[in-house]
Amino acid sequence: MTIKSDLISKVLRNPRGGVSAVVLLVVIICAVFAPLIAPYAYDVQALRNANLDPSWTNWMGTDEFGRDLFSRIIYGARTSLSVAVTAISISVAVGMSIGAAAGYFGGMFDRVVTAAVDLTWSFPEILIALILIAIIGPGLNSTMIAISIAYLAQFTRLTRAQVMALKNETYVEATANLGAGHTHIIFRHLLPNALTPVIVAGMLATGDAIILEATLGFFGLGAQPPTPSWGAMMSSGTAQIFIAPWIIIFPGLAIAITVIAINLFGDAVIEALDIRNRLRDS
């Protein structure tokens, strides 16, 4: 417990870590309590209020259907965060299992896994995601699946490297000699030690996943109307670029602020834990 509270105070005392933690907290609160915070419903159309300038009644203006942009951005935080966090959690869980098994047991399985990871390594996530969307069709669930598979290689590779480095440590050998089984060694000794770098990498990947979700939404392949998604909102804004540029500006700002905060927070955690090397050499 003391180690945990020590880490938290280290991260928060770092100016970048403290500020980004506050920003992230605000975004998370928006996502969780969207109906309480948003001044209007996200899907109520009022066509005579279409494309209104930002004002006291509509802080960020309205979109082409007269919907309040500020409310839609608050609800959009919900879509963005839930898709990114779910997708990356699945990716981390699956990647850790495959990576740990490959690194620990080696052999044929390891060779197949390594080949698959190498295969996807040079392909950008957006291309992998587009191939998957082509197969499973557009939509928010497909986006989630596509993102989790696009990042799978990263976590598999990282976990495998950690487990390979740890499995030859004396204490692991000692545990094995004391009669511990594979499951005990993997779950009680190797994974807990490999966990930290993978979790931190997962946190940083969540930022990239938010951008990927927004990009797919912008292409019209992610969230479908009227679901508020930051990327899809900008896509409909391109048609109004001459008359209502705020429809493009504010959702993008929301993405940029959230992702920058995630990156700075992740950096502060890496610094506090002093694990930059363990993340790099994989």
């Binding site: 291309l127 587009l130 197969i135 927004a214 292409f219 392949l221 670029i241 940029a256």
Partner: protein
Amino acid sequence: MLTFVIKRLASLVPVFLVVSMIIFMIIHLVPGDPIDSIVQIGSTPEQKAELTAKYGLDKPLIVQYGIWLAKLATGDLGEAIILRQPVSTLIAQNLPHSLILGTLALVFSTIVGIAAGAVAAIWKDGFVDRAVMGIILLGSTVPSFWLGLLMILLFAVQLGWFPVSGARSWSALVLPVLTIGFGGVALVARVTRVAMIDIARRDFVMMLHAKGVPAWRIQLQHILRHALLPVVTILSLRIGWILGGAVTIEYVFARPGLGSLLITSLNQRDYPVVQGCLLMLAIAVMLGTLIGDIVQAAMDPRVRERMS
């Protein structure tokens, strides 16, 4: 060197087979009978059967894949369902636009990135360094399509310096190249800066200083030259990301190109075109990575040994 190139090329064959098989499978994994996406609504079962036979959809999958590959070798990628043209014609029309955009973005990222990284490293912790670090943070966190839209808003809509979209003139290339390049510059600048700062601490640099070699010569001739190696490595690893950036940005600027074609076809469910575009993009990524590896091997014999 030649054996290295041949070996690397050969190693791409299994990769190509797996990737092409996945892309081939798209049309079969999509929910519904693939023939339904080809026939017109209201066709009789006889017409359907005839088309099924024509497209070879009644044969086993592996045979279909073989036929597909053989056709691919002759440049036959099938026919677009909605655009009613051979897919190869569509790709031939769009590919040059993507190639120009991708190449210019890559050149821009490399030159500006190395310059920015070098300046930041030489005047470490100074004003320029902080500015470059800020650009690095923004370049790696701000979504590129939003950046593209902001550029359109500022330079095309407000100032009217460049066209809003399309590819009718060379000036239409400026904003897309800058947009894709921003992320690339951030990446290259970060690697250059870290590598130069690291090399500046080595013994041989101290030795050069002791010998009285002018500081600018040490920076440019010795430190920067050594730092280029990790830069080439990261570029060869990330070449696919720059090409991937082109996919997104073409669509933002409504430029013709493989990316725009792919996104439009995905939205219209025109699967033969989707397959053709994905295949071309995958090949582009593989060849790009290969060229990166070759450049790296040409620069450093150790790499040649390790990778062959």
